[in-house]
């Protein structure tokens, strides 16, 4: 699934369409969103270098990590540093987002980023001005990719940081402007969904065409007391998780995909999910008035109910079941209710059938037709 996300972003947008946009969403229960973001960034960068993608340049808008971090990240993935200035630009919103350093007395504060990074970095001093941010992104992208038809992609480190400094409608406006720009081929961003109201998260999802949700493998385990059972489950959550992706396809259908991932020293590894869990959302279809299926619990209870027939069909000698007396077998099996006897039937749960015989005189399965007594 991570592969298909990267492929969709790599293929970019068609003429006249909005660019595909990916939201990577995570929560504190499984805080690996940044790893997924870094994975997508490095995959797309290698596509760019190999010339396989629609975009030729990537602009990274860095809010939560310094530009040197990204340069090191890409170096570790084996990409050639010397060629960086040809295809990557980093908009540095991390070092001095509100322009405070410029106001400090010791204005000799040099930007503490490495030389390699400085050649591809551009500092942004006011992230509150989203129009300025928009034009900076376009400038960086067009500067490398060139004017005209050449495409570039945009990676936004953290939408949460943008939302700290600007209102939702401004941020949504920026994202939609970026998506509808002709030269932008794809755009992806990270969002920590538990830092905002649901409305904000759903607005950001509304703006995107793919949503990748990072979830813990065992959601019930998180947030509970540390029992011995929970500890092992919790430990699993520290390194593993699930990636649920929802693709919005062009024809209006939604493709749901799921994958497991594992965090290692070298990075993140994706594996197909072990168990297939096909669930359909019953809320989509109108409610049916009948329930024709029995649940498992209901099935076992049904099997346990002892029917008040003359014989139970299990080969034992026929005995008259009399509501007033219990059968002899009852000493060994579950007890049945009788008139004066309030014995609880533990084995068969709550299912009980109370039957009172009409008369004691009837022999079992008698062939007599009671209507024979009538004298017409």
């Amino acid at each position: 699934m991570a592969e298909s996300i990267c492929r969709t972003l790599r293929d970019g947008s068609l003429e006249g369409e909005h660019a595909p946009a990916l939201t990577i969403k995570d929560t504190a229960a499984s805080p690996f969103g940044f790893d997924v973001f870094a994975y997508v960034l490095s995959q797309l960068s290698s596509f760019i270098l190999a010339g396989k993608s629609q975009s030729r340049v990537v602009v990274v808008v860095a809010f939560t990590r310094s530009p040197s971090f990204y340069v090191d990240l890409l170096k570790r993935r084996g990409l050639d540093v010397t060629s960086f200035h040809k295809w990557i630009q980093i908009l540095d919103c991390y070092t001095d987002p509100l322009g405070w350093k410029g106001k400090l007395v010791e204005s000799g504060n040099a930007m503490c980023i490495s030389d390699e990074a400085s050649s591809v970095t551009h500092l942004c001093k006011d992230v509150r001005d989203l129009d300025n941010l928009y034009s900076l992104i376009l400038e960086l992208g067009k500067g490398l990719a060139g004017q005209g038809k050449a495409h570039f992609s945009v990676a936004i480190d953290s939408v949460n940081e943008m939302l700290r400094h600007a209102s939702l409608s401004r941020v949504a406006g920026l994202l939609s402007n970026l998506r509808s720009h002709d030269q932008i081929s794809c755009i992806y961003w990270l969002l920590h969904s538990d830092l905002h109201e649901v409305r904000v998260t759903s607005s950001v999802e509304y703006m995107s065409s793919m949503v990748a949700n990072v979830e813990p493998l065992n959601p019930s385990a998180s947030g509970q007391r540390w029992d011995s059972e929970n500890v092992s489950l919790l430990k699993q959550n520290f390194q593993k998780g699930k990636l649920n992706v929802r693709f919005k396809r062009r024809n209006g259908r939604v493709r749901l995909m799921c994958e497991e991932f594992h965090i290692e020293q070298s990075g993140i590894n994706f594996t197909p999910v072990s168990s297939e869990d096909g669930t359909i959302n019953q809320g989509l279809l109108p409610k049916v008035q009948f329930s024709l299926q029995l649940s498992e619990k209901e099935q076992t209870e049904r099997a346990k109910v002892l029917l008040p027939f003359e014989h139970q069909g299990n080969g034992k000698p026929i005995q008259i079941y009399d509501g007033r007396r219990s059968l002899e077998d009852n000493k060994n099996e579950a007890t049945l209710a009788s008139t004066g006897n309030l014995q609880r039937n533990e084995a068969s749960g709550e299912g009980e059938i109370i039957y009172f015989r009409d008369s004691d005189d009837e022999r079992p399965d008698s062939d007599e037709d009671p209507d024979d007594d009538l004298d017409i």
Binding site: G16, S167, L168, S169, A172, G173, L175, S176, N177, S180, V198, R199, S202, S203, V204, E205, Y206, M207, R246, F247, K248, R249, N251, G252, R253, V254, R255, L256, G278, T279, I280, N281, G283, L284, L285, P286, K287, V288, Q289, F290, L292
Partner: protein, 362 residues
């Protein structure tokens, strides 16, 4: 199929049908109402003939699917083809660009739903028999040439010819950068002033299409009370004009109380929902799942000048694209067959399952 028997009782108002025959886009309805077509013939049938003049249609979008755009496109094209002026507002910077995606009416030989004569031979066991009703109706409609002009079949793959939307007939408004809805309100006022409702004949009819009101990128999305007063203003203006309006909005992005208020404002309330792709369970449950692209729910149907409500046999329909060109709405065929899904609206629960649903039972 919906109840469009077309019978008139002796208690309905006698309306001169002369006025409707002069203007092709308008049809006489029961109880002295006039209908305009929504652009989708199946939807017209479901709504009891079309959209009554002066009503406000609201479509609840699904964040995961663009089906509301299909409805809007057909609505707008229908108006343009019948020479009805259009006002279109959208949150994009260049709304005029959307006009290029409007579909063109298909030519007669493209009509797909031809009665297949070969099927008549032999015994047919009609399980889910209601799907076959449409064939009988088609042969009936074919005799009435005037019916074809009321609602066209649109080919979604062919764009509408430019001359339909060039010139003064289409007015486009972008609501993205405006600080509030005052500008849109003024444009609507001037537009609707062209179609005053008198007791005389109807000279022309206007259509308003507002796409994604309260989309997150618009400034007015924070001003919920202002948007609500805009909608009530629009509704009152429509009531004294010969026009209809279709407004789409994303209910999952509104607060629940405002979502409810908006739904109450609508005369006709529809919602569209996305369906999961390649879902084996749904494929087993529904016939024709492969062609479906989404669901349409009808929550409210306008009934003017009457106290008799329109009770639909089914409120959930599947949206299908026949041959990827023609939009059809079909009743859901599932086993066991269930008629209505209850009188609740506001169920914006879609595949995401994360949106809150509010049901209102009357």
């Amino acid at each position: 199929m919906s109840a469009t028997k077309g019978r008139t009782s002796s208690f309905t108002r006698n309306v001169l049908s002369a006025s409707s025959s002069q203007t092709p886009g308008i049809k006489c309805g029961p109880n002295g109402t006039f209908f305009v077509s929504s652009g989708i013939s199946d939807l017209d049938k479901i709504l009891g003939g079309g959209i009554p003049l002066g009503s406000l249609v609201m479509v609840m979008e699904d964040a995961e699917a663009p089906h509301h755009m299909l409805l809007l496109r057909n609505f707008m094209s229908q108006g343009l083809v019948q020479d009805q002026p259009l006002l279109y507002a959208s949150p994009s910077k260049d709304p005029r660009g959307f006009l290029g995606t409007l579909p063109c009416p298909s030519s007669k030989d493209d009509k797909l739903r031809n009665h297949d004569p070969q099927q008549e031979k032999g015994l047919r066991i009609a399980w889910q028999y209601k799907k076959y009703f449409g064939e009988n109706q088609q042969s009936f409609d074919g005799h009435r040439g005037s019916k074809q002009e009321f609602c066209n079949d649109f080919d979604l793959r062919k764009p509408l010819e430019r001359h339909f939307f060039s010139g003064q007939r289409v007015d486009c408004v972008s609501v993205k950068d405006s600080p509030n809805l005052v500008a849109l309100q003024d444009r609507c006022t001037t537009f609707l002033a062209q179609f005053p409702r008198n007791d005389g004949s109807i000279s022309s009819v206007g259509r308003i299409a507002i796409q994604s009101l309260c989309a997150p990128q618009c400034t007015h999305s924070n001003m919920e009370w202002d948007v609500l007063s805009f909608i009530s203003y629009l509704k009152s203006m429509l009531w004294s004009a010969n026009a209809v309006a279709v407004v789409t909005f994303p209910p999952s992005l509104l607060s629940e109380s405002f979502c409810k208020r908006w739904q109450h404002m609508a005369d006709i309330l529809l919602s569209v929902r996305a369906i999961p792709d390649d879902d084996k369970e749904l494929a087993k449950l529904l016939t024709g799942y492969q062609d479906m692209v989404g669901f349409l729910n009808v929550h409210k149907v306008a009934r003017t000048n009457t106290q008799v409500p329109l009770i639909l046999e089914a409120t959930t329909f599947s949206i299908k694209l026949q041959k990827r060109r023609f939009l059809v709405l079909e009743c859901l065929n599932q086993a066991p067959i269930d008629g209505s899904s209850g009188a609740s609206y506001g169920t914006s629960g879609s595949c995401s399952g994360s949106s809150k649903t509010g049901t209102l039972e009357f």
